[in-house]
Amino acid sequence: MRGFLTNPVIIKELRERFRTGKTAWILGSYLFVMGAILFGVIYVETANKVYFRPGESREIFILLTVIQLGMIGFIAPALTAGTISGERERQTLNVLLTTHLTPFSIVSSKMLTSLLFISLVVLSSLPLYSFVFLYGGISPVQLIKIFWFFSVNIIFFGSLGVFCSARFRRTGVSTIISYGLTFLVGVGTALITFFLWQFFEMMEWKAVDSDLFPFLFSINPGFVLAEIIGEKVVPPSLTYFMEPWILFSILYLGLSVFLLGWATRVLNPLRKKRLG
């Protein structure tokens, strides 16, 4: 692997992205939405009270992380779903493939620059957290776990977008499908878990004894986040065979590798046969 700053695709992507207003625009609207929600909530919460209590700072922290998770799911596809289909639509992909850039180097550099941008956007919102920290309410270990958890999410949703943009020719189609899949992972898994739980209750099966539910709760980003923060969303009698955030990381990082590998394969013009 060649150096990060000598990789031509990365340099090109950075130039292209920084010169358009799009990046500034995404960054600006992200911060605006985050800030508006945060201050809106604080305003409503404190409107009738004289002072601000630490217990509420914890609530605001939870609110911030949930919003941030939602924003990752919203921004990752937007930033990645067009990376490869965009080259195809601009008719620059074929020329790229006749150079010494391998499909793998194209996919991985696109992925890296996208990660860089998503992280930039997410990190830019850190100052919003600062005053919440002043009042405590969250432990450093939890903070590191949350940071790790966000990274896994960024990598996974980023890979999903990159995969879709390699697999589908049109950026429009790719964007819709990445959002669809993101929604499925974010909300769909929760719904499935909920309905299955109801179904088990109805049939009077012992849901808490089955290995299925710990697994189902561990694949939904929302449940895992709640578990990290220590909010009791999951029935307390349920026992995990592995800490949810570990299972979540293994599963989604594995899937990311798989999706990127698949994208690389799709991009190779000389591959043996079509997949999918």
């Binding site: 090109k12 601009r90 008719q91 020329v95 493939l97 006749t98 850039l101 000389l270 043996k272």
Partner: protein, 308 residues
């Protein structure tokens, strides 16, 4: 330098390329002619390692395009029929990006890029954004892009398409310069007279089949037993045209106000009979002779009778 053996490409049921056999020597310029949908771009994409042939083999510089794509890519500069440029990149940055893609050391790039821009007459546009360049300039920049790694073989798919006559001439002059540099060039085009001046060999492809192949000098309509005739009359042009079109040996009558050009498929005896017929009907014939054929005639004659 370039060789194909029984190259075939199928898109589902459609055979875009059927059993193509080509051999292009080093330093030669090969012109690839054919109507739309003949399979020119398909052939060029296979040679550029962008498409896997259904069967058959293709070699560039002795390397199999399927088995040694990396070596082939080092040897070729490929310019597609349609290509885009990146927004928000300047001409130098655009070329610098491809220098990087070919792993050319950074210290060599500045001089190389200046040379390339000079070669394609774009030195003045070095700092312009590529999407602000005109079509002809983009096309020339695309050509410079092909040359970044000093390839021995150039695969140019209709490099002159969409260019005005002046830009075409400029493009041709650049290509002549490249020929003088000893590059092996395979170039496709619809504009035949251009190829005649530039190419050593010409191949005519039609519906995926190579139907004529040889040096420019060998390319005559005689190949198909056709001659090009011209007829000039003083008057009665309409009557003359009717006689011509009625003759079973006459094809593609081109009437330019009392001056006719047409393909004649019969023997000399038939020619004499046609002239006698014209005279007996009282047509004032000024001249009736064989015309010097041009490549347009060759092309039309060779691709005669095949649709699309």
């Amino acid at each position: 330098m370039i060789e194909t053996q029984g190259l075939t490409k199928r898109y589902g049921k459609l055979e875009a390329l059927k059993d193509l056999n080509l051999k292009i020597e080093q330093g030669k310029v090969f012109g690839f002619i054919g109507p739309n949908g003949a399979g020119k771009s398909t052939t060029m994409m296979i040679l550029s390692t962008l498409l896997r042939p259904s069967s058959g083999k293709a070699y560039v510089g002795g390397f199999d395009v399927e088995k040694n794509p990396r070596e082939v890519r080092q040897l070729i500069g490929y310019m597609p029929d349609f290509f885009g440029v990146y927004d928000n990149l300047k001409a130098i940055e655009y070329l610098d990006f491809y220098c990087g893609a070919y792993q050319i050391p950074e210290r060599k790039r500045t001089a190389l890029i200046a040379d390339l821009l000079e070669l394609v007459n774009l030195s003045g546009k070095a700092d312009s954004y590529v999407d602000s360049l005109s079509r002809g300039m983009k096309q020339r920049l695309g050509l410079a892009r092909c040359l970044v790694h000093d390839p021995k073989v150039l695969i140019l798919d209709e490099p002159a398409s969409g260019l005005d006559p002046r830009a075409r001439i400029e493009m041709r002059e650049i290509l002549k310069e490249l020929r003088a540099m000893g590059k092996t060039i395979i170039i496709s085009s619809h504009i035949l007279p251009e190829l005649a001046e530039l190419c050593n060999d010409i191949g005519v492809i039609e519906k995926g089949k190579l139907i004529a192949y040889g040096s420019v000098g060998d390319m005559t309509v005689g190949v198909k037993g056709i001659s090009i005739m011209q007829l000039k009359v003083l008057d009665q042009a309409e009557a003359a045209e009717k006689i011509l079109t009625d003759s079973p040996f006459v094809k593609r009558v081109d009437n330019k106000n009392r001056y006719f050009r047409f393909q004649f498929t019969g023997s000399d005896v038939d020619k004499a009979a046609l002239l006698a017929n014209l005279l007996s009907q009282g047509i004032p014939v000024v001249s009736f002779s064989e015309a010097k054929e041009n490549l347009e005639d060759v092309f039309l004659a060779i691709t005669e009778g095949v649709g699309s």
